[in-house]
């Protein structure tokens, strides 16, 4: 592996959100990834997953299938994607052009007490993704590289997987644990909700 910048999740998530100009949907995984997404500023197109560890990428795949014209981004931790490696193979089959997966790889289950994951020892998640046919999978080298990959049109060269080595810091915010509110707001943001029916 070439020299990689060691990123901070909070900072990288803010950088990502600042680049979004087309109402892209963003699905944050369990714990820190959705805490940092929440902390990066409230967007109606954000979905904060609670509980169902490993399902952020499948949820994003579903959104990408239903709305092929919208860019969809999944933010997931290394421990979480390790729980669901199979979904990468599914994405290798479906090949949604509008899906981008960002893996925040601290080599740890940070939120449960910093236990080491298999990416911290023996697993290269980009190699795994390439192995299931996601040829457009990359380690993020530096900030410019990240900006370039995120600034591309989401229907070009997708699906894309970006993995960033990050430090061991916790997430910056705390999502409200209100699934109905989260889902309603997200659907309103995607133009699919009943939201609006009760607005003035």
């Amino acid at each position: 592996m070439a020299e990689l910048t060691l990123f901070n999740r909070t900072e990288l998530t803010m950088r990502l959100v600042a680049k979004l100009t087309h109402e892209e949907a963003v699905v944050g995984g369990i714990g820190n990834t959705n805490f940092d997404l929440f902390a990066a500023g409230h967007r109606p197109q954000n979905f904060y997953m609670l509980g169902s560890m490993g399902l952020a990428v499948p949820i994003a795949l579903g959104v990408a299938i239903a709305q092929p014209e919208r860019g969809v981004i999944a933010l997931e931790g290394d421990g979480s994607i390790l729980m669901s490696l199979g979904c990468l193979a599914t994405i290798g089959t479906v090949r949604p052009r509008n899906l981008t997966i960002v893996i925040m790889d601290n080599g740890l289950y940070q939120i449960t007490g910093k236990q080491v994951t298999a990416t911290g020892t023996n697993t290269d998640i980009v190699a795994v993704a390439r192995g299931v046919g996601l040829a457009n999978s990359h380690w993020v080298r530096d900030h410019n590289h990240f900006d370039e990959m995120i600034a591309r049109r989401f229907d070009e060269g997708g699906p894309v997987l970006l993995a960033a080595k990050i430090d061991d810091k916790p997430g910056a915010g705390q999502t409200p644990r209100d699934p109905a509110l989260i889902r309603n707001r997200f659907m309103k943001g995607l133009g699919t909700g009943r939201g609006g029916a009760l607005d003035g």
Binding site: A25, V27, F47, M49, L50, G51, S52, M53, G54, L55, A56, V57, P58, I59, A60, L61, G62, V63, A64, I65, A66, Q67, R70, S84, G86, C87, A89, T90, T93, V94, P179, A180, I182, R183, F186, M187, L190, G191, T192
Partner: protein, 175 residues
Amino acid sequence: MNWSDTFLDVLKKNDVRLISYVPDNVLTPLIKGVTADNYFISVNATREDEAMGIVAGAWMGGMKGAVMMQTSGFAVAPNALASLLVPFQIPAILVISERGTLGEFNIGQVAVAKIMRPILDTLSVEHHTLTDEAKLGFIVDSSIKQAVTTQSPVAFILSPLLTGGNPVAHAKLSA
């Protein structure tokens, strides 16, 4: 019509386009029907909870979907039900081919068949066991509409009385 054509017909009438599945022998006619028909988008998932995640995302994106699985596949997925579909109020349609009863040879399937309905009941997920092609249309159509209106998942359990069961199991039992 046979049961699988009737079932797919009702899905279509209710705009259920996305079908994500982990295969099973008994589901074969449904999966064949789905993959042969351009109306449907079929996604062969690697796990049942993954399939539930895909269908949840699609629902929020404006597309209705169903997950097809075997009885033992259902047992992989209670966490996705309890922490995603139920609390986020996602009307996912779960289609479960029933193994473990009426002529089962595999003791593992029998145990899972016993926990399936209690799990659905505990989570207050509406479920119907389909035994008869003549009643299938009404049950599935009205329950999908109810699921969407009440924003809750619904499960259809395909009994061997409907499907004829698993041919492999029958062969083993009579060998």
